[in-house]
Every structure is written in C-alpha cells, then in structure tokens.
C-alpha cells in the first residue's frame, strides 16, 4: 500500500500527522485575515460614520402610526400626491411609517443637521432603500428602529421598498427632501 490515499479511501492507521509547512503557513495567513475581517466591525463603531446600531425598541404598530400622525400634524408644510410634506427642526425625532404600499410622510430635512429617524411598519415587513444613495434598512412591524442620520448633501431623494410586501410592492415609492443648510425653502412638488 502506498503512503498516499484519496478522499474516497479510508486512511490507514493514525492520520493525525503534522501538516506540511506550506499548509501551516496558509492556515496562519487565513487566520490572521479572519481576525482583520473581525476587527473591522468593532473598529468602525468607534472610527466610522456608518453603523446600523440605532435605538431599538418594541412598539405596537398602531401606536407607532399614531405617533407618526402627531408628528405630521406638528410640522406639516405642504402636500405632494396626497402625501403630507413635513419639515421637522434639526435635532428632532422624525417618524416614517411604512405600509402596503406607501411611505408616509415626505420628510424635508436640512443638510448637515442631525435627526433621529424612526422607522417602523403598520402591517408587514418592508425594506427602506434611500435612492440614489443606496442606504438600506429592514422595517419590521412591531419594532421601532431609531437611526441617527446626518444628510451630507442637498437633493430630492426617493425611498423605495425593497422587501416584498405584496402584489403592489413595486409601486411603493416615497420621497425625502434635503435642503441646503441656510436656505430652508420649501422644495415643493416633484415630477
């Protein structure tokens, strides 16, 4: 019998043998790389600007929706396609409810200001995608996801739903407006 065997043959005798140096070196390099992969995540929490931590708590879907409606009543400045446009002051808590198949309200934020954006759903799972920035979060009914956001550039953004929420899923598009730091003018209608 030769000293070598394939993966289809039973190894004879004791197979717990030392590995060849080349193999040991590869395993070591791979291990070190895995540690780098691991270290990047906690490191980014301290040094990076984008983390999905947020303030997380359970909430009744209807209670969250009521809170959103109060928020709308407080800061509404207009309307587009029947959806209220809301301009909350910098630093405030901002509420966005997802429901099949609509995002409500339309938010108008200021460039460079920080807000706590609360996301939740009235019915099923939805997906928050800020277009064209490509920022994504899962919106789960019964959970309030409060994320600190700081818009870095003015623009007329879209929020599209990227979690399947029913047959009308592809019609679910909302709007988010960011106005320049000191010229907080109403961005008005779109399209």
């Amino acid at each position: 019998m030769p000293n070598t065997h394939t993966g289809l043959e039973s190894p004879k005798g004791v197979w717990w043998k030392p590995a060849h140096p080349a193999e040991k070196v590869w395993v070591t390099i791979a291990f070190v790389w895995c540690m780098v992969l691991f270290a990047m995540m906690p490191l980014w929490h301290f040094k990076g600007g984008q983390n999905p931590s947020g303030i997380r708590r359970k909430v009744e879907p209807t209670a969250f929706f009521r809170r959103t409606q109060e928020f709308i009543a407080q800061y509404q400045i207009g309307e587009d396609q029947g959806i209220p446009i809301v301009a909350p002051p910098p630093g405030s808590d901002v509420y966005l409810t997802a429901m099949s198949f609509q995002w409500t309200p339309i938010l108008q934020l200021e460039e460079g200001a920080e807000y706590t954006l609360h996301l939740s759903s009235l019915d099923v799972n939805h997906g928050f995608n800020l277009n064209p920035l490509n920022v994504n979060f899962q919106v789960v009914p019964g959970y309030d996801y409060g994320l600190k956001v700081q818009p870095t550039a003015a623009g007329d953004f879209r929020i599209l739903c990227n979690e399947f929420c029913g047959i009308g899923h592809h019609t679910m598009v909302g709007r988010l407006i960011v106005v320049g730091g000191n010229s907080a003018a109403n961005a008005g209608g779109s399209r």
Partner: protein, 578 residues
Amino acid sequence: MTDSNFRTCGSTGLKVHGPAELLIKANAVVSVVALLIGAIGAVLLVLTRWQAVHLLSAPWYYRILGVHGMSMLIFFIIFFEMAVLYFASTVVINARQVMPKLGWASFGLMVVGAVMVEVMMWTGKADVLFTSYVPLRADPLFYLGVILFAVGALIVTSMFFANLVVAKREKRYEGSVPLVTFGAVAAAIIAIITLLHGAAIYIPTFLWSLGLMEVDAQIYRLIWWGLGHSSQQINVAAMVAIWYMLGALTVGAVVINEKISRLAFVLYILFISMASAHHLLVDPGMGPTWKIVNTSYFMYMAVLASMIHGFTVPAGMELGQRLRGFTSGLFEWLRKAPWSDPGFSSLVFSVVVFGFVGGITGVTIGTEQINIIVHNTLRVPGHFHATVVSGTAMAFMGATYYLIPLIFRKRVAFWGLAKIQPYLFALGMLIFTMSMTFAGSFGVPRRHWDITFSQAPFGIEFSPAVDLLLGIVALGGLMAATGAFIFVAIAVKSVFFGEPLGEITRGTAMVGVPAGLTHPPVHSSNVDELNAELHQPGRSWRLGPAPGTVVLVGVFLLAFVVYFFVNWKVLSFVWKIG
C-alpha cells in the same frame, strides 16, 4: 450477514447495495425534476427583470419567484443531498442500507410535501415568496407541505447515521471513514440543526395561519434564517465533500493532510449555523454586539474552514497530478488535466466561482456595516447564485456525470453536449452573478417587478448603466438556463432511455463514459518515492509539494483584500448614520 443484495462495481471495486442504489436513484430523479421546474422559472424571471422584455405580469412575477426559490433551493438541492447521504453512507464504505422501507416512507413524505408546496404556489395561494415572512400569510397547506418535507428529510438524515453505525459494527470498512464520508457527516449534522430550526419556525407559523397563535415578525426572521441560511451550509459541506470525491475520481487527488481537512469540516459544524445573522444586520431587533459575534460566525472560524478547503482541494489535485508524473513547472498539472471530462471541468468551475465570486462577495456583504449598502439589493442574489448555483449545483452536476455510469450503469447521453455543458453553465452563471452584483451596487432592488416605477407616485431613474447590466444579467441567465436544460436532458435521457453501460474497457475512450473511469487516474508506480521527493524541503522555491496552488491562493487572497476594503471605502461616502 447476507451479502446477496450486493453487486461489485466493475470500475471502482466498491460494493453497491441494491436497496441503497434504488433510493439514490429515486431521490436523484426527483431532484432533476425540481431543477427543471426551477430552471423554467429562471428563464421567465430574467426575461421579466430585463425591462426591455418585461415578460410576466406583476402577480405572476412574484409567484414564479417563489416557485423558483422553493424548487431550486429546497427541492432540487435537498433531494440531491438525500442521494448524497445514501451514497456516502453505503457505496463509499461498501456498506448496506438499513431500513430501506423507512427510506421509501420518508421519500413519500418529502414528495407529498413538495407537491403540496408547489400546488399552493402555482395556484396563487402562497404569494409569500421563498422566505414567507410573517405576517404575509399563505394557505395553511403551504406551511404543512414544508413541514412534511422537512420531517422526511430529518428521517433520511437520521438513517444516514444509522447506516454509519451499522457499517462500523459490521466492519464494512477499516480504520476511519474516508474524507468524503466525513464531509457528508458534517453536512448531515448541519442538516439536523437546520431542520430543527425549520420545525421551530414552520410549526408555529402553521398554527398562526390557522389563527391559533401569534408569531412575532422579528423572531420569525431570526429563526427562519436558522433554516434558510443553515440549509445553504449543508450545501457547502456537501459540495466540499463532492469536491474531494471528484478530485479523487478525475485526477487522483490525494488528501494532503487528513487532520487539517477534517478539522475544517469540524469548524463548519461548530460555527456555520450562526450565519442566519447575516440576514439581520440592518434589522431593528438585535444590537451591535449580537450582530458582530454572529455575523462573523464567531471570529470568522467558518470562513477559515472554507479558506482551508480552498487550499487543500486544489493542492490535493495538484499533488495527485504530480504523482501521476505531471511535475514540470508550476502549472503542468493543470494544463495536462482532463478538461474534456465534465466531472473535472465542473469541479474546477465550482471551486473557482464559489471561491472568487461567491466567497469573497459573501464575506464582504455579510459584514455588519457594509450590509447597509447591500441589504435587499441585487448584490444579494448576485452573491448567492455564485455560491449555490455556480458552486453547489455545478458540483452536483459534475457528480451526476459519474453517478450515471456508476449507479445507474448507463452511458451518459448526448456525450458531446455533456463535455461542453459545464463550460456553458459556469460562464453563464459568472456573467449573471457579476452583472447582478454591479447592478446591485447602484441600489437596484432584488425581488422587484418594475424598476421603471411606472405605477409609483414618484419616479426614479437609475443610471443608464443599469439597463445595460440587467440586459447582461438576462444574457448570462439564459446561457446558464440553457446549460441547466442540457443537463436535465442528459440526465433524463441517460437514466430512462440510456444505453446500458456494460463493461468498461480501460485505456480506451468510450462515448458516454467520463475519462476518470476509462482512464483511471493511477499514480506512478514509484508513488512513495515521488511523494517523498515532492515533499523535500527547499524544493519548488520552498513552496511545498503543491507550488501552483500556493500561487493560486495568493491571487485569491489579493482579490479578497482589495474587494473588502473597496467596499469600506464606498460605505464611507454615504450619510453619517448610527
């Protein structure tokens, strides 16, 4: 113990137990039927997402998307894995099948469950897609179908362990089980963990669909992914086992070091089940510590395992070829490999696309913060088609080219097509997955019928590059689907109408018989001497017995590092979020 039900395989000398053989055949055949349904779905889907064609209506797009997911990821893959479990616990170790009747009962359960699920989906009573996230609601029979299927699979997995125990007691093999069977053991243990998660989520969801209890949407996502992602890890372990098997059959690949390869399988068992967390990185239910610990599969120990196999599999192939005399330079072993053997080409493409595309993208997009620019975009299906289709399905196809002559004892039909099938399928999938990944980096959503948003209150215009990329996605998808149809045609023709194999004449090429069987990859007669010489320290620029592989994994690592850090850079450009 009676051995009357055994036949001895003419090509490998292995003893094949009749009842086991029948179970392998039945499961493999149903698997191919599921593949056919899934592949037809794939064609309809890519022709819908290619906006210029936009074939299906919205309800049918979402319905077929669900059918495609269930047929491919669950029915095709798991029926084939059942065949692999039967094969690895009987044929590979010359053992018998215990309780064949129970095997048939579980097979019946699985088929009934699968048919129930398919009927519910096709009739529009389960428009909840593959993931069926609560509180989207399907007909209770849909959930019941999944439960029956899972129970059947759980019984087969238990029978796999029973086979091993009986084989050991009856001394069917000497020493330890072969590495291929060891890999199947890892797959089976992960399968048990996976199927228990399946029970833990689908039984409550079934009761919920009957109005008997409540299910929390976030808890559903957590436990469902214990099934959804872990089932992909069964695939990984089964696929790696098949890599070792195809390497042995096609080029006489040797096991470089049993200890290292087996430890890597153990790492899979210990850590890979934490992967369900990858789907919850931007979910509101869990905090950063939970996310970091789990997404990293606890410090990336399962990634380490894959990187180990990514070295030992090609290194074993290289050493096997060198022991056959292909020793010159870095890559003679690769140049002189049997590229027209579909078992070999499938193996190589499976390893390369799984590693370079599936592996690198998977680890990167499964990083807590990077997931912010990835979640639910086309980058996600771009990644998992590279792992489960280009990796697992391709490996299973390669294995089938050997199972047809070895188990079904038929010649492989349409032999000319069989030789090019892996090239067509792998190239199609490579184009498909890479263009999908690029389209996803523009934020194009997955599972979406209309990205022109023609019926939405506000318009969105993606970069013009996206139109082009989705056209390329369709092109790659159609190529790969053609490859899948060719595979199905080959499998069906060979199994049901194929020419019986008869005796294999060694040294003469035969139509419909892979080179690994007509020209078995025998090592040189002075194999030990050659092996010792190849292991000499200081040889091949001190790169060890497989220097070509060292160069290849170096290229891999470089690609990995670059891709990983480019993604962090891209992330740093978006708004401050926390």
